[in-house]
């Protein structure tokens, strides 16, 4: 009885991680953990030595469950909570494997911050789906290629100043590969950002 309850808790904790972060790698890790838990469970029926593994898995899954509940409570607030919107966003989150947050403003805004992409409602309203994809691809590049805090602080310590001068250009290239140059150029025009025209020009003249 107990092993089955434990498997249930472990499965629930990894499922909650997936629902909150929508991260496939965590989901796969969860599947592996659950599978190994089942194996350990079967073995431990005859051998009580394995019980410390149960304890370990129990602590890990309880921790994961708690963290995802806390994170869910923190992020729920301030986000427009609407079924239609979340399905619109969820598709993009899965496509680019990054969390996307929606900001409550009519202004057209997009940026990457702390491993997530932020899009405003105004942007979702004014850009068509292909243009939104181009913007998310650009921000996803930033999320995936921004150096971690540890790396950047180590770089600062060793005074190897890391200047991401090329980052905007590379992120644009990546977005153009996915959504097409024209689509990205249209999205950049709608964003009305500083240096947008230069970026469109770079895009057209490159490759």
């Amino acid at each position: 009885m107990l092993p089955f309850l434990a498997i249930l808790v472990i499965a629930a904790s990894f499922l909650s991680v997936f629902l909150v972060w929508k991260r496939f790698e965590l989901l796969i890790a969860g599947q592996a953990a659950a599978a190994s838990a089942i194996v350990v469970g079967i073995v431990s029926m005859s051998c009580p030595m394995f019980q410390w593994i149960w304890a370990y898995l129990g602590v890990v899954s309880f921790g994961l469950l708690t963290v995802s509940i806390v994170r869910y409570c923190l992020t729920r607030e301030g986000q427009p909570n609407h079924a239609g919107l979340s399905s619109y966003i969820a598709t993009l989150e899965v496509q680019f494997c990054i969390p996307i947050r929606v900001i409550d403003t009519q202004r057209i805004r997009a940026f990457a911050h702390r491993r997530a992409a932020y899009l405003s409602v105004g942007l979702l309203e004014r850009l068509d789906k292909d243009e939104v994809t181009a913007v998310v691809a650009h921000e996803a590049y930033h999320v995936k290629h921004s150096p971690s805090k540890l790396v950047s602080s180590l770089a600062a310590l060793s005074s190897l100043t890391f200047v991401p001068y090329n980052d905007e250009h590379l992120a644009d290239q990546y977005a153009a590969d996915i959504a097409g140059k024209d689509t990205l150029a249209r999205a950049l025009r709608k964003l009305e950002i500083a240096g947008g025209e230069q970026r469109i020009e770079d895009l057209v003249t490159s490759g």
Binding site: P80, L85, Y88, R107, I108, G122, E125, E192
Partner: protein, 118 residues
């Protein structure tokens, strides 16, 4: 709440209490409820989208306008509506201004307003 420091008595009409763009947008919202920013832009062709978006954000933040999210699979947009009628706004602002005057001038204000009673 109208910010008292923003009141300019020299201006005409509601521009005493709101910016010209705020007055235009409020006027549109009173005419027709549940308006999108696109419809507002069509009516105010001379204003940039960024300017309209900023004004709408400000009106929502100050509580004069309410917006709801209208989202489906294929589109996302805000629908705007005023939180009070033009008349209710008049009452609100008058109360606020009279309170402020009474705080400053006391009974003199009461007798001055008494002039309007029939």
């Amino acid at each position: 709440m109208v910010k008292l420091e923003r009141i300019s008595l020299r201006n005409e009409g509601l521009k005493k209490f709101f910016s010209p763009n705020e007055v235009r947008i409020l006027g549109l919202l009173w005419e027709k409820e549940r308006v999108t920013s696109g419809q507002i832009q069509k009516q105010c062709g001379d204003l940039s989208l960024a300017c309209i978006a900023g004004t709408l954000d400000r009106l929502v933040k100050s509580g004069f306008v309410n917006r709801t999210l209208d989202a489906s699979e294929s589109r996302v947009r805000y629908l705007y509506a005023p939180t009070c009628t033009q008349q209710e706004l008049g009452t609100k602002i008058s109360e606020q201004v009279v309170d402020c005057l009474v705080d400053t001038f006391g009974t003199a204000v009461v007798s001055s307003i008494g002039r309007f009673r029939r």
